[in-house]
Amino acid sequence: MPQGVRLVMLADVSVTGRGGLSRRLARGLVDQATPGLRWAVAVVLLGVSGLFGGLDTVADPQAETVAAGTLVPGGPWEVTIHEAGIRRELGKLRLKNEGDRWLYVIATVRITAEESTMLPSDLLVLEGVTGLVAPTPEESALERDGSRLRLLQPDMPERIWFVWEQSGGAPVPTSLTISVEQRTWREDSLGGEWHWMDADAKGDDNPAGRVTVPVKADTTPPSASPSPSAEPSASTRPRPSASPKPSTSRSPSARPTP
């Protein structure tokens, strides 16, 4: 009976102020606490929690691996990985170390967020590949005109080349597993504002999806000029500037890309 007594005391100091009605109610509840009523209470409480999202399905923590060409929604973006390959030379890009090779992934990214978004450098993470000079791409460029990827506009999907450098000594991969970064629209615990953020504060959350894609071998003969349709026409050249240029200049812009 100590349980019942405690319940009655809590009811006594409840908001109703007067102990009379609530005390009688609570005592009545306890007195009638037959198993049937307890089940009813449990069901009602579950229903209440359901009102606040308690019964929503938890997202599957282990994202399954999908094939290339599958749309992977990641929150503010949707990524469709098309192909991957190896190249000894790629446009005007320069390898850091002689003998290394370029690993490229072509993906279409569509911004589903409500404003222009700059993609994080770890949007795509290559798994199971050794010898990468850096885990994030050395370059990422729009296939459209070879300009370096910066802001993407909402609902305007673009084909993008993501390019990593792999050490020449590491084995050439025959297929890649690429994990796509996920962001959630949630309240920032520090500032109280809503942003697209990693699901937990530590930043190590589950990817939006994993895509396997076979790696195309390098079929271009050495030092042949790359075909314009197959890759960015002038990889990451400096942005053209709307400022007036001297008439003798031949290059699009003398300004270095910041």
Binding site: Q32, L51, S116, M156, R239, P240, A242
Partner: protein, 189 residues
């Protein structure tokens, strides 16, 4: 009778909880509470934000931009606006320029071209205005009903003034198919 009373109390508790949840969902988020203060104006008139004044002189749209020998195409259309901007009483630069469409999506000025006028690098002295053209890439369907947003901070526009100037483009199908050039930023003499 006791059961009825108990049920009645339970219903009150549930109603109170539901009402609290409804209030919490309906009230504006902090994002909304900290949004910029709009300064609305029309094309052709001076719009006075807190630190700068801007006037949209002309708006047009095109299927491509021609920058030097390069042609920049797009899957949507290019909105080109000719602006005249000036600092009010302190040295200032415009560091944010975007267009908001009817669905509340915000498209920032392109960074495929250097647009010095609105990327924060062009500090203006009071009384010495500049003019130039900016370009924004938008989906063709969104070209009508755009509002030009300008601010003097590139990263954080919260709680400061931001111009809202409706751009008089009826729809994307009226855009010129010919590539258009952009006027580079220059001092107004």
């Amino acid at each position: 009778m006791k059961l009825l009373r108990w049920l009645g109390s339970a219903v009150f508790v549930l109603a109170a909880l539901a009402a609290a949840q409804a209030v919490q969902t309906a009230e504006p988020t902090l994002n909304d509470a900290r949004r910029p203060f709009p300064v609305v104006g029309q094309v052709g008139e001076d719009v006075h934000a807190r630190t700068f004044t801007a006037r949209v002189q002309q708006v047009r749209c095109a299927a491509a931009l021609k920058i030097g020998e390069h042609v920049l195409d797009t899957q949507g259309v290019w909105i080109v606006a000719k602006l005249r901007v000036g600092a009010r009483s302190e040295p200032t630069s415009i560091a944010y320029a975007a267009a908001r469409d009817a669905a509340d999506r915000v498209f920032q000025t392109t960074d495929r071209v250097s647009l010095d006028l609105v990327t924060g690098g062009l500090t203006m002295q009071p009384g010495l205005p500049y003019e130039g053209e900016i370009a924004i890439e938008v989906p063709t369907a969104a070209a009508g009903g755009l509002i030009l947003l300008l601010a003097d901070n590139s990263i954080d526009q919260r709680l400061d003034s931001m111009t809202e100037i409706p751009l008089p483009i009826s729809d994307g199908s009226a855009c010129s198919p010919e590539p258009t050039t952009l006027l580079a930023a220059r001092a107004v003499s």
